[in-house]
């Protein structure tokens, strides 16, 4: 009797969607502290080397930064709509939105690649003679620029891997209308990457 009851219990799927979401948020808080430390370093050095920061930021192309901002904002939109589509039971539309999100993520990286290549061609890469000949404040600006946007780009790459997994899961119905917490949590990660860029953009591209 007892065994039968136990067997019945065991056939139940053990899941705790709210718990999963809390876990995801906890992880995102560690990300927040990671980037927060860098923003603090940025604040301190910008305070110390104001004029050098303003001068160095002229090297960045505002237009490229603006395009990447729009790309990420739009990818956040399609990510959010992908979850709505899945929850409304429209698997196909959800996949289209998810695919679009991945495409935009790639577009962001392609844009970043060209942006960085142009800097490298001008000799402005970490440790280059050209860069080291600049005043200290400008060296620090470019150091922060490469570390912060580089770490952010790494997050975009990780985001792409996660979203590709989600695409496969939705395709195979492992993630579906009733069980979508994984897609939701991936979305949370993607939106955080977006939020970090929202702050990186004005702080590096739009200085006077």
């Amino acid at each position: 009797m007892n065994q039968i009851a136990e067997a019945t219990v065991n056939t139940h799927v053990h899941r705790d969607d709210v718990g999963a979401k809390i876990g995801m948020w906890l992880f995102l808080f560690t990300e927040l502290i990671l980037f927060g430390g860098m923003f603090l370093a940025y604040a301190v050095y910008r305070f110390t080397y104001r004029d050098f920061f303003a001068l160095a930021s002229k090297e960045l192309d505002v237009f490229v930064g603006l395009i990447n901002t729009l790309v990420l904002l739009t990818s956040s939109l399609t990510m959010a709509m992908s979850i709505t589509a899945l929850r409304k039971g429209d698997k196909k539309l959800s996949l289209v939105f998810l695919g679009t999100t991945i495409l935009f993520a790639f577009l962001f990286l392609v844009n970043k690649y060209f942006e960085w290549s142009a800097k490298f061609e001008h000799g402005l890469f970490p440790g280059s003679n050209e860069l080291l000949s600049l005043p200290r404040g400008e060296i620090i600006y470019f150091g922060l620029y490469y570390v912060m946007t580089g770490l952010h780009a790494l997050h975009v790459i990780i985001g792409i891997v996660i979203l590709v997994f989600m695409f496969v899961f939705v395709l195979k119905d492992k993630v579906n209308q009733d069980y979508y917490i994984m897609l939701e949590n991936s979305g949370l990660y993607w939106h955080l990457v977006d939020i970090i860029w929202i702050f990186l953009f004005p702080l590096f591209y739009l200085i006077h």
Binding site: W25, V44, V62, I198, F199
Partner: protein
């Protein structure tokens, strides 16, 4: 019960598109504002607009507006902690010079 609170609300496409349009408009605003020389005020404007954008993403895209209240408190405390770190360390640094 929790399931009802946090999982029954499906946000419509319209809401998301509206928020996206607002985000794009705020981006245009911050770029335009940066082309004027506002002196010390420009960093305040830039960070202010970025904060509004971040808040919109948190509340709507990241569902905090529709999720259980617990999540809002959770995230608020996390950001508050970060703000304390940033403000205290920065103010300490700016006064030692």
């Amino acid at each position: 019960m929790e399931k009802k609170n946090s999982h029954n609300h499906i946000v419509g496409y319209g809401t998301y598109i509206f928020v996206w349009l607002t985000l794009v408009a705020l981006t245009a605003l911050t770029v335009t504002a940066a082309s004027f020389d506002l002196g010390n005020f420009s960093i305040v404007v830039a960070l202010g607009i970025a904060s509004i954008k971040g808040l919109l993403v948190l509340l709507v895209f990241m569902h905090l507006k529709f999720d259980d209240k617990m999540f809002r408190i959770f995230v608020f405390v996390a950001f508050l902690t970060l703000t304390i770190f940033l403000v205290l360390t920065f103010s300490d640094y700016s006064f030692i010079r």
